[in-house]
């Protein structure tokens, strides 16, 4: 057995086993797993320490579903043969399957050390590098691949893309030009070539080489090399505009006629003329009116004209638009038009038009023999619906409810009326009433999933979490563990955010934390999901959309759901850090009664038995389960593991980190970052966060409280931090709060400046409490929020009650009843007995609504 230098003794196999090994590799490629396992065992019988075979065996086992065993074998195999590219490749595959991309890339890099021209390894490495955004390395890898296989088209385009991602568009262009010169025998109407050309054009546009871009576009379009006609039109129009060509107007007009409902095309047309949709301008209006008359079926020019026009012109255009919508019965008419309300004059004009429409329709429809559209009872109905939404939007719940009551007497079978009433009640603080109305809507149409979801959401807002899950369960997968689990699988952010908020409101902080973290997990999954596209998009040559995908993924966590989850989860963790008794309160109250414990044990045993029978049945199959790990069973149903984590602040910091760049204009984010940083003793980071918040909203109540907190923390420091931190810190502190101003003065000055703002009043009260003012003084400040003229809203009132409870004030019920009287339509301030009876009515439905006396069996 001769050995080449460098190959360890244990790797080279005699001819029989070496054939077997090659067979093993083949069997794995064809996913012939049972045979592969047997072959591997054959080799291992004779050579139990052959690393490569062990790794292959581990890989096969993983494919068969025996993950832990498989991974053990792979690890053993590597230990026996640290310089085998096969071993490292296998290890990398396993790690990739676990979505552990950083480690996988390390393994692949090792593998490449021992076999630097292995195409498989290079390709996988390139995808990993893209996923991890390591573009320098990506360029190198793509270069290698191209050198090894210069006749594979994909490798050229992939290299160009790599340069582009690395910020080197010029190089990308060079590669593409070289590539196109070498192309031969391109079949007609080849989509891949078409997409590559469009990428080339896009690249030139980004390099501002408009003439060259247009040339390539026109030549290719003529040759029919580019098959995407809409793209051709769009690129032409844009490039001609940038070149300030006379043909541009024609190009945009062609686009508008091609799709007369695309706002982008109108925007493009107008910007070509030097006009914009954002400012009122008579020329733009004339153009839109022209389009309107040329394209009578198009909705876009009519609606855009409303945005641009003002005054009497607006009224002239708005009236036919609104009347047509009301008579046609467009349910979304209000949602369409409400954006105009930023202009108060337009808001009033709309109200006048619709109110007079209401009067006209009321008269006309009272005569059944009239055959005009105005005389249809449905015209009147939809007008009432519009007006109700209008008044609700403008904060006039009483008017809205009066109109809705009339509408409901008119046509009680229209679900939209019930949902509108629910919304009005919800906004007025009657969450139970809102849920009840939405349930009434839901009962009208059992197959409408929108009504079902909205009903569930309103139940969650009312804190009725179990009932909500029951309602959702009517549409979720029947074989899922629970509706909540199914919706989490489906990544329903709407559900997760509402459920987490409801759990937090109900005081179940452990469950709320768990749900907020599952929202974060959804975003992790979305980020991981892009992995397959690194290969797919290059295979299909759809580069433009691929680059857009990568850009989108980079700003993924700017999504409002992630921001909410990160900020709220951080708040919970900060609360745990400040007061560990929260944790013990929940963990101890989670003690179950004996009967419940027994039931739990029984359920656990039954579940285990199911697992075992499942396991025994699957070992006999030859199924390829792939390399991805199957989703774990929920091992922490109460979220206690998370809740009792020993590093809450670090976890919060990790959650908030992406938001420093993705949500820089969000005050709540910077406040959350401040709270975490200051408690981690990262003084300068805390001050930076606070300054960002101050820059965005200097008089914000939360900012005010943070300033007090900062000063108190600074004063409580045992010694000034060492230079240079200490000096910078003290300087910054002085800039925020001059040293001669005492905190008490600072607080009372703030209160004086904002005596009519409820949230500021509460902040001042909380500040006074922090400064150890006597409780009565704090309460007195709080109660000024009830004065006339103060803008107290329901959410602030609820937060105030929570604050009074936290300072053990005896005046909680007094405040609560005052709020109940002040917010006449609300129910959220009622006593718990009243709430219980209201809660029972929510899902009762029709049974109590009838006033009938006669019963027919």
């Amino acid at each position: 057995m001769s050995k080449a230098s460098g190959i360890p003794v244990k790797r080279a196999l005699p001819s029989k086993e070496s054939t077997l090994f090659k067979e093993l590799l083949q069997l794995y490629e064809t996913r012939n797993l049972k045979k592969g396992l047997k072959t591997a065992d054959q080799i291992l019988k004779k050579f139990p320490e052959h690393g490569e075979t062990m790794c292959m065996k581990g890989l096969v086992l993983t494919h068969l579903g025996k993950r832990e065993e498989g991974i053990e074998f792979v690890k053993k195999g590597i230990r026996f043969d640290l310089t085998s590219h096969i071993c490292w490749h296998v290890f990398g595959l396993i790690q990739k399957g676990e979505k552990n991309y950083e480690e996988a890339l390390k393994s692949y890099t090792q593998a490449l050390k021992f076999d630097k021209d292995n195409l498989n390894i290079l390709r996988d490495a390139a995808q990993l590098q893209t996923q991890l955004r390591l573009y320098d390395a990506l360029v190198e890898t793509r270069n290698n691949l191209l050198k090894l296989r210069p006749n594979v088209r994909q490798n050229w385009v992939a290299l160009a893309v790599a340069h582009h991602l690395n910020g080197n568009r010029k190089e990308a262009r060079k590669i593409l030009e070289h590539y196109e010169r070498t192309l031969k025998n391109v079949p007609d109407y080849d989509i891949e070539h078409s997409e590559t050309l469009l990428y080339h054009v896009q690249l030139l546009e980004e390099l501002e080489e408009y003439t060259e871009a247009l040339r390539i576009l026109d030549v290719s379009a003529k040759e029919r090399a580019i098959v995407d006609r809409t793209a051709i039109m769009e690129y032409r129009a844009r490039l001609l505009t940038k070149l300030r060509s006379d043909e541009a107007e024609h190009a945009w007009r062609a686009l508008v006629e091609h799709n007369s409902d695309s706002y982008d095309y109108y925007r493009g047309y107008l910007s070509n003329q030097g006009l914009s949709l954002d400012q009122p301008s008579p020329e733009a209006l004339t153009i839109l009116k022209e389009f309107s008359s040329q394209l009578p079926k198009a909705a876009a020019p009519k609606r855009l004209a409303l945005t641009i026009s003002t005054g009497d012109e607006f009224k002239e255009l708005a009236k036919p638009y609104l009347m047509a919508g009301l008579i046609k019965g467009i349910p979304s008419l209000f949602a369409d038009v409400k954006a105009l309300y930023q202009d108060k004059l337009k808001e009033q004009a709309v109200e006048d038009i619709v109110t007079s429409a209401r009067d006209e329709f009321a008269k006309a429809s009272s005569d059944p023999s009239s055959s005009t559209a105005a005389g249809e009872p449905t015209s009147y109905l939809w007008t009432l619906y519009f007006l109700a939404q209008h008044h609700s939007y403008l904060g006039r719940p009483k008017e809205a409810l009066a109109i809705l009551d009339e509408a409901l007497t008119h046509t009680p079978t229209l679900p939209e009326l019930h949902t509108c009433k629910a919304r009005v009640l919800k906004r007025a603080g009657d969450y139970l009433g809102g849920a009840r109305c939405l349930n009434d809507a839901r009962l009208l149409d059992g197959q409408d999933r929108f009504l079902n979801t909205k009903c569930g959401k309103y139940l969650l807002r009312a804190g009725m979490i179990d009932e909500a899950n029951g309602i959702f369960g009517l549409f979720t997968k029947k074989d899922a563990v629970s509706p909540a689990v199914d919706l989490e699988d489906m990544q329903s952010l709407l559900f997760l955010v509402e459920e987490a908020n409801a759990q937090r409101q109900n005081g179940k902080l452990n469950l709320a934390l768990k749900t907020y973290m599952s929202i974060s997990k959804v975003f992790d999954e979305i980020q991981d999901d892009q992995y397959d596209f690194h290969g797919y998009n290059l295979r299909k040559f759809t580069i433009n959309i691929y680059l857009k995908l990568l850009t989108w993924e980079d700003s993924l966590r700017s999504h409002p759901a992630y921001i909410t989850a990160a900020v709220e989860a951080s708040k919970i963790w900060v609360a745990i850090h400040d007061d560990p008794s929260i944790v013990t309160a929940i963990t101890s109250s989670n003690g179950l009664t004996d009967a419940e414990k027994k039931a739990k044990k029984k359920a656990k045993k039954a579940a285990q038995k199911q697992e075992e029978t499942k396991k025994t049945s699957t070992t006999s199959t030859n199924e390829d389960k792939g390399l991805e790990s199957t989703p774990q069973k929920d091992e922490d149903p109460e979220g206690l593991k998370l809740f009792t984590a020993t590093d809450p602040l670090e976890r919060a910091d990790k959650l908030l980190l992406p938001l420093t760049s993705l949500a820089p204009n969000n005050v709540a984010v910077w406040i959350a970052i401040y709270d975490v940083a200051i408690r981690r003793k990262k003084l300068l980071l805390a001050v930076r966060a606070l300054n960002k918040a101050r820059a965005l909203a200097p008089e914000h109540p939360e900012v005010h409280l943070c300033i007090i907190h900062l000063k108190q923390t600074a004063s409580a420091l045992p010694q000034t931090p060492p230079a240079p931190i200490g000096d910078v810190f003290s300087d910054s502190l002085l800039k925020i709060l001059p040293s001669e101003v005492s905190l008490e003065t600072f607080n009372s000055q703030y209160l004086q400046r904002h005596s009519m703002s409820a949230s500021a009043i509460i902040a001042a009260a909380q500040g006074a409490h922090k400064l150890s003012a006597p409780r009565q003084e704090v309460e007195n400040i709080v109660f000024t929020a009830l004065n006339d003229g103060v803008d107290l809203k329901v959410p602030t009132a609820l937060a105030t009650i929570a604050f009074l409870i936290s300072i053990k004030s005896p005046r909680v019920d007094e405040f609560r009843s005052a709020c109940d009287a002040k917010f006449e339509l609300s129910t959220v301030f009622k006593s718990s007995e009243e709430l219980t009876s209201l809660r029972q009515r929510v899902l009762a439905g029709e049974s109590e609504a009838t006033t009938a006396t006669e019963v027919i069996p």
Binding site: G329, S371, T378, T413, D445, G446, G845, E846, T853, E854
Partner: protein
């Protein structure tokens, strides 16, 4: 400018399903001073009467119902009209006529079993209803005394129409 060219209103009918039963309940509760039992709501969902129990839509809004049941009296099969009603703002627009004609056509062409007659009760205080059915070929057969237990007057006309 409120006179848009009048398009004729869309009238359509839908069969009853467990999903739209809530709408039927809502309509019944508003239209009739009578509380119908759970058996009523169970029976109107049965496939045998699918052609005779409908929701009436006006411009895609549900505004009325019509519900019948099949009755076997010896060798005769009769269709009994249990409820028919339209929300007030939508009355006098021929919805009642259209739905009655729909049912009667289904009854006339119904083969298994062959339907011989259709009949219903009308409270004796409701003269306009009686005239409506008479316009559609119904004739008064008798007065059923004390048909209604709780509402006044208690008597009801029995109106009937043959399918020959």
């Amino acid at each position: 400018m409120s006179t848009v060219t009048p398009k004729s209103p869309r009238v359509s009918f839908a069969s009853l399903t467990p999903n739209n039963l809530g709408t039927v309940r809502k309509l019944n509760s508003v239209l009739f001073p009578i509380k119908y039992s759970e058996k009523f709501y169970h029976d109107i969902l049965q496939p045998e009467v699918e052609d005779f129990c409908k929701l009436i839509y006006y411009n895609d809004v549900p505004v009325g119902t019509i519900c019948c049941r099949l009755e076997n009296k010896g060798d005769q099969t009769k269709l009994y009209l249990m409820t028919m009603g339209v929300l007030a703002p939508y009355r006098s627009r021929r919805l009642g006529s259209k739905s009655l004609e729909l049912i009667m056509e289904a009854a006339a062409s119904h083969a298994a079993p062959k339907i011989d007659k259709i009949y219903l009760h009308v409270q004796v205080s409701n003269l306009s209803a009686k005239k409506f059915y008479e316009r559609h070929g119904f004739k008064e057969m008798e007065v059923h005394k004390d048909y209604y237990k709780k509402i006044i007057p208690h008597d009801a006309w029995v109106l009937e129409r043959d399918f020959s």
